[in-house]
Every structure is written in C-alpha cells, then in structure tokens.
C-alpha cells in the first residue's frame, strides 16, 4: 500500500493556468489548411412531411462548395444507433443524420451547406427551398399513444417500454394504513455548456479523422462507426480541450456524420461549430418526466410498498443514451430507503421535440425528487416529522451490499450519518426556529430535506503509465476531462503510487488512436479512470521495488491497466431553508447545506467545486430553468433572452461537508462526486417550498418555482 501524501489534499487545479491564460485549444481554435465551414438547414416545423428540396440557388452562391440532403447521403450515413436498457424494449428509432421524408422536431437538420466561411454557408442555407407539409405535433408523453404515429412500426408512439416488480406489491398496499398518491411534472432543461458542440472531419486516404468536442473519443468512435460503416482502422476521433458538456456531449451529434460525408466528397476538411441558436434547438435536452407515484405506508411511517408509472418525454428519436435517464429514475426510485415491494413502469413516449439525453444527474434527480417528495407527503399525512420518517426507512449501514427491489446493488453508504451531518451543518434546529418566528410575523418560510443516491462508476476504464528516460511520468488515460480536473486528481493518484511529485506527472487523453476506453460520464472518472491509473502505477512501483530501484530509474518502462468494477453508489443529504415573498411570490433560498458521501475524496477542493457547481444547476432547475414548447411544438425558450441561467449573484450561502464511506469495489474507495448537487438540491428545495406553503393548504408544487406560480398559490389560499 502506498503512502497517501497527495490523495486527500485540497490542491488547486493545475490545468487552470493553461485555461486562464487563454492557452487552451478548443475545437474552434484548430486551424487546418483548406478548411471549409458547415451550416445546416433546419426544420421550422415540429412535425411535417418533407417534400422536394431545391438546392440550386444555394449551390449557385459564390463560395459554396456543396449542399447535401438526406437523399444525397443515401446509405452512406445511417441513423445513429439507439441504445438499449436492461430488460427493456427499445424501438429502432435512431436519429437520422439528415431527415428523410419527415421531420419530427423543430430544428431537425434537413440539409447541410458547406462553404468557404460559416457566414456564406448561412447565406446559402437561407436559399435552400424546402417543401414542408405540416403535420400534427405530439407534445404530451401521457397522451402520446393516442396521437398520430411518428415512426412506422412503433406502435402507440412508445419508444421505450420497461417494467419491473419486486415483492408483494398488492399485499403491501392492502396492508397499508395509508396510501399517498401524487402526480408530478419535471420539465425539460437545456445543458447550455459554454462551448457548444462541433467537429472537424478530414479524410486522408482511407482514414477519417474527426476532431470532436465530446466527453471522450470512444463513444463518437463507436457511434460514427455504426453510422458511417467504419471501424477503428479507418476512423480516428480526437477530443481537444472541451468547454463543458454536463452530459450533452456524450453522444455524437448526427451533424458530425453529415460533415464527414461532405469532407469525403470534397476532399477537404469541413468544420461545424454549432452556434448558440442551434444548441438550444438541436442539442438534446435533459429531464422531461411526468410521473404518478403511490406509497403504501404504515401508521408508524414504514414504507411498505411503492408503485409508479413514469412517462418520459423522450422526443423524436432515441440516441444511444436517451433511455438511460428514465431507466435510472426507475431503478433508483426507492432511494435511500429499504422498501420490500415495488413496481415501476416506464412509458418512454415519442414526441415531436428534440430528443432527451443525459444532463447532469440523468435520471437520478428525477428519482430523488419523486421519492423525497413522496416521503414528505407521507410524513405530512401521518402527522410525523419528515426527518423521522426517513430514519425509520433507511437502508441500514450493516445491510451493504444491499440489493434494491429494482435490482441494483448499493455497494456502501451510511444514510443516517449523512442525514445527521446535514441536520448539524444547516443547522436544522436553528432553521426551524427561524421559520416559526418568521411565520408568526406573517412571513412564508419553509424547511426541507432531501436524500439522494447517485449511481456511478461501472464498466471499465484504461490507463497506461510510462516512465520516460528522463524520469518524467506520462499517464495516458481513457477517461477525458471537460472540466473535472483530471490533470490534478489523476496526477495526485499516480504520484502517491509512484512516490513522485504530482508536478512530475503529465497526463494525456482524448485520442482514440492512442488508447481504448469507455469515457467520462456518470461521475465515473475517479472511481474507474483513477482506479485504472492507480493500478497501472502500482504495478510500476512494484517492479521498481523488486528491482531495488526508484520508479524514476525505470526509464522506458510502462504498465497498462484495464480496471473494471460493478456500479458504485454515492449518496448524501441536503437541506434547504426558503422564503416566499408574499407580495411578489419570489422564492428566496436563504440557506443550503450539502452533505455528500462520495467515498474516498481525492481532492477536497475540487470535490467542493463539483458540489457547488452541481448545486447551482440544481437551483437553476428550482428557480428559473424550464424548456417550454408551445402548442405547435416550437421551443419558446430558444435563447438566453428567454432561458435564464443562474449567476453568482443568485447563489445562496452553500455549506458543504463530506462523509466518507469508502467503496469496497475499487482501490481508491472512490464513488462519484460530479452530480450530487444537481440531484439532491431540487428535492430539498421542493420539500422546503411545500413546507412553506403547507399552512396555506398547498400540498405539492412542481418546479420551477416561479414567482407567478407561487404568488398565485398564495393568493388562491387567501390572506
């Protein structure tokens, strides 16, 4: 076992020097000779039959190199692959590269224009004349089955069907003292990374090279491979510096396959840098879930059973990960609680909207929101304290590994310790006093707690650790950073194993031609990628020890590791204190306390940064964020003028603390830290809002908690 001199230290991010000096190389910074730029013609209708496309005028514009339609692509670019989920039925409805015959959301690409500059490409795109015959939009996942069918062969507009029952659910509900029911609507959100999506495609000989703003090179490699019929011998994906993703760059954009075809045709490299308007319209959105949930409880507050139907607003097509979020929501719906019987059905509906996909949290915020609201509703119905009901139902610390009724196995955790920690951190007793004193003055305050479970890790990840002849250590990792801080945390991990300084460790990543891997998503970087680095470095350290030399004397030696493990489960408890301004309905988050159990923490400074960043996104979901489609299926929040993101000015004080129950599944004991704030914050704030409104007879409110919504609820309740 190595001496841990670096793991556990709050070291500042090494990579920030490069970023803050403007020395990063993002996709749009890459210069290649003869580079052409692409723009897309996008459908103005949410649903329409696609008629003739006249490209003559566009082709005639000086500077235009090519205009391609779906018909031009033919069989060269097949739809991107749709992904499966365990035990689920998933329709064959992958996203086409360019629309053929029909368009199924406003913003779907119907033609590609390639020109000497993006400006000329946009001028030409306006000249492409497309015949559309508008069709009825399909907007509501609850009623999509009865609407016009969006895909041939997909009955009832059902893209994903999944159902699982465990235990005697009927018996549990029959034996219950009380049954609590609630319907929920969790709106769609946009990921809004600072750097939008994009790629450069270049064909040299038989080899297509794609530089792609992506979360890793591996999934674009696999997905483009399917679409374009290329294997790793004729396709290479390189990921440069990436300005954020939040899940939205885990699937390659169909536009990338289109520019690859153009680059092949023209013999010149082609770049597509998505602009902000395209990102709003065409990048997949997150969340979008309606649900009906029932809880069977005993008079003492024990949860005997749970029944739920989740209606996922999946959008027009299935990306490789579209089914993941509702599946994860279903799998985690019993949360931190030991529930003997549960039955969950997922109805994944096709709608005429841009597809959904993972966005920070990816199904876990939905699960936490549903189960945590249900626990509060049950407590209120039973006249018990919400905190007490949680204690009576927690999975006990000695129950791990714990198999949930949905079939996942929680590796580790101590939920009551997390809860106790957050009660102290807030401190909840003080908040309750404050709330009660303010209520006596006629003010509207509420306190809420939300637990969360974050499924993380799983699958495998790769690493190669090499000692250069001059003693420097080069770590190649299959995991790719886009804001996580790999260059700091992975160097800390390697440094401890090898007995060197982190500064002596250089990190390389992002080239599918260099190293296979799985990629960066599901808060898996440290647990999987970090463990692979630790394993490879440990092997080198052992070699040095056997040879009786120091690691830096092993010039030219390298060790490779492919680390795999089952899923790990981070967890935590959040608490919120809110006030609703009576005069305006404005929600003020007065305090937020965050306790996260991510197992062993490699770098507390970066971990706290993850907590704060995710919490801001969770708060955004509570306060302002909502992707709104009108009755025609048009996105009404299609720019930052209509879709707000929180700024530092809106941040309440956030107190963060960690509980560490190490995972037994990897050498670091790490779980995941990237998403907890986005998962637990909406649940805690929603419970606080409901608590604030309880004296007014309000039972439940769905996010976002806008001024107009809260003001109307207060007004309806009277003075």
């Amino acid at each position: 076992m190595s001496a841990e001199r670096w793991v556990g230290r709050p070291m500042p991010r090494r990579e920030d020097v490069r970023f803050l000096r403007g020395e990063a190389t993002y996709l749009d910074d890459i210069e290649l000779p003869d580079l052409l730029e692409a723009a897309f013609v996008r459908s103005p209708f949410a649903h329409a039959r696609l008629g003739a496309i006249d490209v003559e005028a566009a082709l005639a514009l000086p500077g235009v190199a090519a205009v391609l339609t779906g018909a031009d692509l033919g069989k060269r670019a097949r739809a991107l692959p749709a992904g499966a989920v365990d035990d689920g039925i998933v329709a064959d409805a992958g996203h086409p590269v360019l629309a053929r015959d029909r368009v199924r959301y406003a913003g779907e690409a119907v033609a590609l224009v390639v020109a000497e500059s993006r400006a000329v490409a946009e001028d030409a795109a306006e000249l492409v004349d497309v015949d559309y015959e508008p069709l009825q939009p399909v907007l509501d996942p609850r009623t999509a089955a009865g609407m016009p069918l969006l895909h041939d062969g997909v009955a009832d507009n059902r893209l994903v069907t999944w159902q699982r029952t465990h235990g005697d659910v009927e018996g549990a509900f029959a034996a219950a003292d009380r049954v609590v029911s609630q319907s929920f609507h969790i709106p769609r959100l946009v990921a809004a990374p600072i750097e939008t999506r994009g790629a450069i495609a270049r064909v040299e000989g038989d080899v297509l090279t794609v530089w792609c703003s992506a979360q890793d090179p591996h999934r674009p490699l696999a997905q483009l491979g399917v679409s374009l019929g290329r294997g790793p011998d004729s396709l290479r994906v390189v990921v440069p510096d990436v300005g954020g993703a939040f899940g939205s760059k885990g699937v390659v954009a169909p536009e990338v396959a289109a520019i690859a075809c153009a680059a092949e045709d023209l013999g010149r490299p082609v770049r597509w840098t998505e602009d902000r308007a395209e990102n709003f319209l065409a990048a997949y959105q997150g969340r979008g879930l309606d649900a009906d949930v029932e809880l069977a409880v005993s008079a003492e507050g024990r949860i005997l059973g749970l029944r739920a139907t989740l209606y996922a607003d999946l959008g027009a097509y299935l990306y490789a990960t579209t089914a993941v979020a509702p599946h994860t929501a279903a799998m985690l719906i019993t949360g931190a609680y030991d529930v003997a019987a549960a039955s969950v059905e997922v109805v994944g509906a096709a709608t005429t909207k841009v597809p959904t996909g993972p966005y920070r949290g990816a199904g876990r915020p939905e699960a936490a929101f549903l189960v945590e609201r249900m626990v509060d509703l049950a407590a209120r119905k039973l006249g018990l304290e919400p905190v007490e009901v949680r204690r009576r139902n927690f999975v006990r610390p000695d129950a791990f590994p714990y198999e949930t009724p949905m079939g996942w196995t929680y590796d580790s955790g101590d939920f009551e310790r997390c809860l106790d920690a957050v009660l102290e951190l807030a401190p909840l007793a003080g908040w309750l006093e404050l709330r009660d004193a303010a209520r006596a003055e006629g003010r509207v305050l509420g306190v809420g707690v939300g637990m969360y479970i974050e499924r993380a890790g799983g699958l495998w990840e790769s690493a190669v650790v090499r000692v250069e002849p001059d003693g420097r250590v080069v770590v190649r990792t299959g995991s790719s950073p886009h804001g996580q801080g790999h260059e700091t945390t992975f160097a800390q991990i390697a440094a401890d194993e090898l007995g060197v300084e982190p500064q002596a460790v250089e990190l390389r990543w992002g080239d599918s031609g260099e190293l296979p891997g799985v990629g960066t998503f599901a808060s898996r970087s440290v647990a999987m990628g970090g463990s692979a680095v630790a394993s490879a470095a440990r092997e080198l350290a052992e070699r040095a020890r056997d040879a009786g030399v120091s690691v830096t004397d092993l010039g030219g030696a390298e060790a490779e590791s492919r680390f795999s493990s089952g899923l790990v489960f981070a967890s935590g408890a959040y608490a919120a204190l809110v006030e609703i301004e009576r005069a305006t309905g404005r929600l003020l988050v007065l305090g937020l306390a965050a306790v996260d159990d991510s197992g062993r923490i490699v770098n507390p400074l970066l971990a706290e940064g993850q907590v704060l960043g995710a919490t801001v996104q969770g708060l955004g979901q509570c306060l302002v964020e909502e992707a709104v489609h009108d009755e025609e299926g048009q996105l009404r929040t299609a720019s930052f003028a209509d879709y707000s993101l929180l700024t530092a000015a809106e941040l309440p004080p956030v107190e963060s603390r960690f509980v560490e129950t190490p995972s037994p599944l990897n050498p670091l004991g790490a779980k995941g830290i990237g998403e907890g704030g986005a998962i637990a914050t909406p649940a805690a704030v929603a419970n606080a809002v409901a608590d604030a409104l309880a004296p007014f007879g309000v039972r439940h409110v769905d996010p976002p908690f806008t001024e107009a919504k809260l003001w109307s609820l207060l007004r309806e309740a009277g003075p």
Partner: protein, 263 residues
C-alpha cells in the same frame, strides 16, 4: 448566427452620418454599442442594407454637465453614466437605474442613446429618464428637433424618429430642488431582462412614477406619493395568464421605488 450581408460605413463626422441616413433607397441602421442591434442582426431578425457605425464620430462621445443640465451624447456608454461622480450626486436615479442594465461587459459597450432609440419596453433607462422630464435632441439633414418622452416612445421597439434622424443628445434637467428619487426592478436573475420595474421622483407632496413592464412604452403617472402605487396599477391593461401577478409585482415595485425616493 452570422448576419445577412450588409454595407458598412464608419464616418468620422456627424454630417456624414446624417447624409448616409438620408439615403432613401436603402434601409440604413445606426450601429453604436451594438448590444441590441448585433444580436438582432445575428438572428437575422434585422436585415438592414447598410450599417452606419457611429463609433468613429468623436464629437458624439461626451457626458457633461452644462448650465445645470446633464448632456448625454450619442456615444456615451452606460458605463460612463455608471462611473460619473456628477451623475451620482446630481442624478442618482440614473446612477441607480444603469446598474440594472445587463452585465458590466454590456454596459461598457452599450450606449444610453442607443438604448433609448431601441425603445425596448424592458429597458431601464427610458423609464428613469421618463420621470426626469428629459429632452431628446434629434438631428437630420433636414434640421433638428427636440422631443419629450411622451413624444418619442410610440410602441414596442418603436419611436417617432424618422429613418433619416439620429438621436444626438439626451438633455436631463436637474431634478427639482429638495426632491428624491428611487428605482426598483425585478428580474429572474441579475442582468436578465426585467419582468417589472419602477422609477420614482418625489418632491414634497408631488410624485412622479414611471413603470417598466407595464406596457409597450414606459408609463408615467403623477400624483400624491401615497396614492400612486395603487392608482398606477389600477388602470393598467395587462393581459396573459400572469396579468394579475404582474399587477401585484408592479404595485410592489412602485411602492419600493417611492419609498427609496423619500428615504
């Protein structure tokens, strides 16, 4: 998000600007700070034939006090207003209101006259200027004229400026002796478009109030300070599902602005 093609001129003299604006065969737009125009160009919602860039016309880049009045030239930036000690002491309402305009980067570039000429009903400065009895100085090759706020603002993004006219200066008289002013607004996030706002001036038993977000143009009310919040919102014709909430919000903001004015 690239603009449609347009011709571009960057004259150095006001006379040249006015000559270019007078071209009858073309749709000509003035580019000053560009904080509203450039997004509209990039969305291709505005498609002028020609842009006349004012930024080289140095004679328009001023903010000064003359004969007791504040004179804001066509190239004075929001940040000039924000950072001026004379504005802070003599026209604190403007100093307060300008801090609600977008973000610092926007205020460094955006101009006061540009914001007024754009006439966005969610803009702060038109509302603040409304209670200060300002005079808008307008020039064209045909001559010059002076307009009051009620004469300039006609509707949503619409003013009485003719296509060949340029707003060259805003003249803000000193507030009445002994008066106080206040500004209040509500936006979802800091720097976001305001959902409502109010500017107030109180001099003894007389008060002026202007509301933002109450209609397509700034709405001005005069009366006794105690009566104004209720009186102002009572007659507003607000529509949409959130109309009653907006009325409540505006009443609260009016009350807040008036309280600040007497504080």
């Amino acid at each position: 998000m690239k603009p449609a093609p347009f011709a571009y001129d960057a004259p150095r003299q006001l006379g040249e600007v006015l000559e270019l604006l007078a071209r009858e065969d073309e749709d000509v737009k003035v580019l000053a700070g560009g904080q509203s125009l450039v997004p509209l160009l990039n969305f291709r919602l505005a498609r002028p034939d020609r842009l006349v860039d004012l930024n080289g016309v140095e004679s328009l880049a001023y903010l000064r006090v003359e004969d007791g009045a504040l004179r804001i030239g066509a190239l004075a930036r929001h940040a000039d207003l924000e950072r001026s000690a004379e504005v802070a002491s003599g026209w604190p309402l403007l100093a307060e209101a300008v801090r609600h305009v977008g973000h610092p980067q926007i205020r460094v570039r955006g101009t006061v006259c540009g914001s007024v000429a754009h006439a966005d009903p969610a803009a702060e400065l038109p509302v603040a200027l409304c209670v200060l009895d300002v005079r808008f100085h307008v020039r064209s090759v045909r001559g010059s004229r002076v307009l009051g706020a009620d004469e300039l603002f006609l509707g949503f993004l619409t003013t009485s400026l003719e296509p060949d006219e340029l707003l060259v200066e805003i003249e803000v008289p000193a507030p009445p002796a002994g008066s106080g002013t206040g500004f209040a607004e509500h936006a979802r996030t800091h720097g976001d478009f305001a959902l409502g706002g109010a500017a107030a001036l109180v001099a003894g038993e007389e008060a002026r109030l202007a509301l933002l977000g109450a209609g397509p143009v700034p709405v001005r009310f005069d009366g006794a300070p105690g009566d104004l919040p209720d009186a102002a919102v009572a007659d507003l014709s607000l529509t949409g599902p959130d109309a009653e909430w907006r009325r409540a919000l505006l009443r609260e903001l009016a009350r807040d602005a008036l309280e600040r004015a007497v504080a």
